[in-house]
């Protein structure tokens, strides 16, 4: 794919002007890192602040009197428990309990929800969700007569999304808004103005640090981006730095957060992937619930675990895992952990081996290297 046929966020020029090394990601032309490099980007986010363009993610509005019932019937977490201004992490599951995508569900009102989905799966998710608007699935929209009582809008192209993460994030954002950020609790949000731009200000993120994700109209992206770099003192040795996909990955991995396509997929259930905490089997029926109940009853055959390398070497995605000379599992994500200064990863192993302290071997380019299963998350920020 030439970079011409890749999709571009409104910040594409900004990335290039900052020395971004551009790569293809899920059909998008994105920076994998900037001039500082992934190690600096990662560490600066943990000690000061990092700025992330996440405009490639998808946004769907679900509105109408049955919005909550509709989304609740398609996702694993309990939408009825949200209050106005609250968001939760959730999963869309198929009939087998496999994950179609992981997502955030924001409740604006009892008839207005925002779904934020992954960049590479936006189209797939849209087709999946809209398929329930008519036909036998229409009953979920509260419609006895095949006319939906929810309205779905794919607003992905209308929005930019910028994340500012790190201990200094709140101080940086405070310079650009009169909205009381201290009032916004974790996984809560509000609407307000950032540098005069009408925005959704959400206390969420994918790094394990405190921080905010800002949603605004796509045309305002460059203004917000530049202002955040300025407010964050980009260029100072402890100033904010823009962070690419590489640092985004190492940050989320240290925090043991899942990445769709690695820890989650159509053939992996949330129970297997350590997401039982967002799977409310008692909330009532939802797509895949029967399959998940059966799986829970039968007992999980495999589980997602975290590991640390115990000898020099770096395990990578898809490397095979051995216990007692038998191949038993595989690595879903493996990488150096820049803050922890270890080499870590997530992996699926049979339930019988999914215990802290279990010694495993990982085949890394022909060599079997020792690793050990450890508790996750690997990194937890000081509150």
């Amino acid at each position: 794919m030439t970079s011409d046929s890749l999709k571009k966020t409104p910040l594409n020029e900004a990335h290039r002007s900052l020395g971004g090394k551009m790569v293809e990601f899920g059909g998008w032309d994105m920076p994998v890192q900037y001039t500082a490099g992934v190690l600096v980007e990662h560490l600066r986010t943990r000690t000061a602040a990092g700025l992330f363009d996440v405009s490639h993610m998808g946004e769907f509005w679900v509105e109408g009197e049955n919005a909550i019932a509709f989304v609740n019937s398609l996702t694993t977490n309990d939408v009825t428990k949200l209050v106005d201004g609250q968001a939760h992490y959730s999963a869309l599951t198929n009939e087998n309990g496999g994950v179609v995508d992981d997502l955030l569900v924001y409740r604006f009102d009892n008839d207005k929800l925002l779904l934020v989905v992954n960049a590479g799966t936006t189209e797939k998710d849209w087709d999946w969700i809209t398929s329930f608007l008519s036909g036998p699935g229409a009953v979920r929209t509260g419609s006895p007569d095949d006319k939906p009582r929810v309205t779905l809008t794919n607003a992905s192209a209308d929005y930019c999304q910028i994340a500012v993460q790190g201990p200094n994030a709140i101080g940086i954002l405070k310079q650009l808004t009169d909205t009381d950020l201290d009032e916004i609790k974790y996984y809560h949000f509000t609407t307000g103005r950032v540098d005069g731009v009408e925005s959704i200000i959400s206390r969420t993120g994918y790094t394990g640090e405190d921080g905010f994700e800002i949603y605004a109209d796509a045309d305002s992206a460059r203004q917000l981006w530049d202002k955040l770099l300025e407010a964050g003192r980009y260029g100072d040795t402890d100033g904010i730095v823009p962070c690419g996909l590489a640092a985004r990955n190492t940050l989320r991995l240290e925090s043991a957060m899942s990445l769709y396509g690695h820890e989650l997929s159509d053939t992996i259930t949330p129970l297997e992937a350590n997401l039982g905490w967002i799977t409310k089997l008692q909330k009532g029926d939802f797509t895949g619930r029967d399959a998940l109940l059966k799986q829970k009853e039968a007992g999980l055959k495999r589980k997602l675990v975290g590991f640390e390398m115990r000898e020099p070497g770096i395990a990578r995605d898809d490397h095979k895992i051995f216990v007692n000379e038998r191949e038993v599992g595989y690595v879903t994500s493996g990488s150096p952990a820049p803050y922890l200064k270890k080499n870590i990863g997530l992996a699926f192993v049979p339930t019988e081996f999914a215990n802290t302290g279990q010694e495993i071997k990982i085949e890394v380019r022909g060599k079997q290297l020792k690793a050990e299963i450890v508790p996750t998350p690997f990194y937890k920020r000081h509150k």
Partner: protein, 129 residues
Amino acid sequence: MANIPENLRYTKDHEWIAVDGETAGIGITDYAQSSLGDVVYIDLPRVGDKFAAHEAFGSVESVKAVSEVFIPIAGEVIEVNSALNDTPEKVNGDPYGDAWFIKIKMANPGEADAMLSAEEYEEYLSTQG
């Protein structure tokens, strides 16, 4: 612009070789370290290991990727820069000096002459993306 010292010879796989009598030092070029990004791990052979020309003798890892390194000419490893295990970032900072990978006893000393000169390597780089 990548740094390309005049007194070394080069390969299209972005290794450099510094001939010193019957022995030679080998590492990766400034262009290579820049393409890789932050180096986090290096896999080096052991003293006594023998390699034929162009064989992979180790690998260099960045956060995101692994790259094999190829020996430009045949030889036997007589010294290994194991300091790089503790400070792999030296490869980014000083690819031609502190971050030499191995020193070899050349099997066929003349072989090094067939490697690219600094000028030829620079020309080759200009054809790369």
